[in-house]
C-alpha cells in the first residue's frame, strides 16, 4: 500500500470527522477534533499500520482561541508512510485523552507536554512532571511565561531565580549580510 492509498483510506473512513487537510512538501496533515482522537488513533495503529509514534508536540498560540494545538507525528513501518494529526485544545479545558495505551512511547511525550505546557492527558497512567520537579508552580514553555523565568522556592528540593538578561534576548536576524550583522545581539522587540 502506498502512502497515498493510506491517506485515501483514512479520509474515506473518517470523512465527517476530518476538519482539514493540508499537504506541504509531501507531508500530509489532518486536523481532527480532540473528541475523536482515541478512535482515530486506534484506527491508525490497527488498520493503517501506523505503528510508530514519532513524536507528540504542543503549540501555544497565545492570544488565539482555542489557544493550544497538539500535533501527533505517525509513521508506518510496513508502508513507509508519514502522517501528521493536529488537534486544538482550549485554555479552559486544557486536557485531551491520552494515547499512551495505544502507543506506549506516548507516555513520556505526554508527560513532557504536561510539564512544559500544562496540558493534562486523561487516562495517562503516571502524569507527573518529567523535566521540572514535582511542585514547580509554572509551565515554562507557555508564551506568557517570561524568558528570564520566575522566582520559586521549594525547600530542600529546588529553587529558581530570575535570570538577568542584560538587554537580551540575544537573537539573530535572517539576512544575506555578513557575519557581523548576523551575529546574535540584544534586539528589543520593535513596537
Amino acid at each position: 500500500m502506498t502512502a497515498q492509498e493510506l491517506f485515501d483510506w483514512f479520509e474515506k473512513s473518517f470523512a465527517p470527522k476530518i476538519q482539514g487537510k493540508t499537504e506541504f512538501r509531501g507531508e500530509t496533515t489532518f486536523t481532527i477534533s480532540a473528541i475523536d482522537l482515541r478512535d482515530i488513533a486506534k484506527f491508525c495503529r490497527d488498520e493503517l499500520s501506523l505503528d510508530y509514534l514519532l513524536d507528540i508536540t504542543s503549540i501555544d498560540n497565545f492570544g488565539e482561541e482555542p489557544r493550544f494545538e497538539i500535533v501527533y507525528h505517525l509513521y508506518s513501518m510496513p508502508h513507509a508512510a508519514h502522517l501528521r494529526l493536529k488537534l486544538t485544545v482550549s485554555e479552559e479545558i486544557a486536557a485531551v485523552a491520552s494515547v499512551s495505551d495505544i502507543w506506549p512511547t506516548a507516555n513520556w511525550h505526554e508527560r513532557e507536554i504536561y510539564d512544559m505546557m500544562g496540558l493534562r492527558f486523561d487516562g495517562h497512567p503516571d502524569l507527573r512532571r518529567i523535566l521540572m520537579w514535582d511542585g514547580y508552580p509554572y509551565f515554562p514553555l507557555r508564551k506568557d511565561f517570561p524568558l528570564e523565568g520566575l522566582r520559586s522556592e521549594m525547600p530542600d528540593v529546588a529553587f529558581t531565580k530570575v535570570t538577568p538578561l542584560e538587554g537580551g534576548p540575544f537573537v539573530t536576524v535572517p539576512t544575506t549580510a555578513g557575519s557581523k550583522d548576523r551575529e546574535p545581539r540584544a534586539r528589543p522587540p520593535e513596537l
Binding site: Y138, F145, E148, G149, A158, T160, K161, T163, P164
Partner: protein, 253 residues
C-alpha cells in the same frame, strides 16, 4: 648524640618538647624512636592513624597523619646550632609547618568529578593519557565525595541539580576547594534561561574559574595549577584548624 640511658631519654624528651615549635619541620634520628614514643603519649589525642617513616639520607623523618594532613617533625637540641652544623648539614629540611601541609595537600588533590554537561568530556580527556592529570597528583577521581579535596564542577548546573551539587559539596571533608570549569558552571554561560543556575558560585565558594565552552584540557590543567598556587599560599594549619593549633600550642607551652 645518643639516647642510651633512660635518664638521658627523659631529659632529651623534655628538650624535644621544649623545642617543639609550630611552623617547623622536625627530623628525629632513628635511635630516638623510644623518645618519640614518650612524646607521643603527651600528644596522644593529636596523633590520628599510623606513623610513617621515610628515610632522607641517614635520618628518618617522622610523618604523622593528623586528620587529613600530615605533620612532619624534626628535633634539634638547640635551635641556634641548626644555623650551621656539618654533622647534620643536608639531612634536615627546614620549612614552616603550613608549607609542609600545603605541599602535601596541593600535590595530592583528589577531584570530585561533578560532570554535568559537555565539559565533563574535556574533564575525562584531561584524565586520559594525552593530558594525564596524574602529572599533578590529581588522578584519583572517584564518585565518592567523602574522599575528595576539590570539586570540579564541569558543566551546566540546572536548578534541578543545584541542591544536589551543594549536598555533594557538603559531604566532602575539609579542607576542600571548588573549580568552576567552563562558562556554564561559572556564569550560566549561554543559558540565560529559567532552568539554569547562573553560576555555581551562587551556592558554593569557588576558588578557580576556567573560561571556555568547553575549556580545553590544558585550560583545566592550568586551572588546577592555579589552585595549587593558591593552596601553597594558605595558612593551612592556623587558618583551617585554629582549635587544634591552640591545643597544640597549649600542650607545648
Amino acid at each position: 648524640m645518643s639516647a642510651a640511658s633512660a635518664g638521658a631519654s627523659v631529659n632529651l624528651a623534655s628538650r624535644i618538647i621544649s623545642t617543639l615549635q609550630l611552623n617547623r619541620l622536625f627530623v628525629i634520628p632513628q635511635e630516638w624512636q623510644q623518645l618519640f614514643e614518650t612524646c607521643r603519649k603527651r600528644f596522644d589525642d593529636l596523633f590520628v592513624g599510623s606513623l610513617y617513616f621515610i628515610y632522607v639520607k641517614v635520618w628518618p623523618v617522622f610523618l604523622l597523619r593528623l586528620r587529613n594532613a600530615i605533620l612532619v617533625f624534626y628535633y634539634m637540641s638547640e635551635t641556634q646550632a641548626t644555623s650551621y652544623d656539618s654533622k647534620i648539614e643536608g639531612n634536615i629540611i627546614f620549612t614552616r609547618l603550613d608549607a609542609a601541609l600545603n605541599w602535601v595537600r596541593k600535590n595530592s588533590l583528589w577531584p570530585m568529578p561533578m560532570g554535568l554537561a559537555c565539559c565533563a568530556i574535556e574533564l575525562m580527556a584531561t584524565a586520559a593519557s594525552r593530558f594525564d592529570i596524574a602529572r599533578f597528583g590529581a588522578e584519583v577521581m572517584r564518585f565518592s565525595p567523602r574522599q575528595c579535596d576539590v570539586m570540579i564542577v564541569a558543566g551546566t548546573v540546572t536548578y534541578k541539580m543545584a541542591l544536589a551539587v551543594k549536598r555533594i559539596y557538603e559531604q566532602m571533608p575539609e579542607p576542600k576547594w571548588v573549580i568552576a570549569m567552563g562558562a556554564c558552571a561559572s556564569t550560566g554561560g549561554m543559558y540565560r534561561s529559567y532552568a539554569v543556575l547562573q553560576g555555581i558560585d551562587q551556592l558554593l565558594p569557588v576558588d578557580v574559574y576556567i573560561s571556555g565552552c568547553p575549556p580545553r584540557p590544558e585550560a583545566l590543567l592550568a586551572g588546577l595549577m592555579k589552585l595549587q598556587e593558591k593552596i601553597s599560599r594558605q595558612g593551612a594549619f592556623r587558618d583551617q584548624n585554629p582549635e587544634l593549633a591552640e591545643k597544640l600550642e597549649d600542650a607545648l607551652a
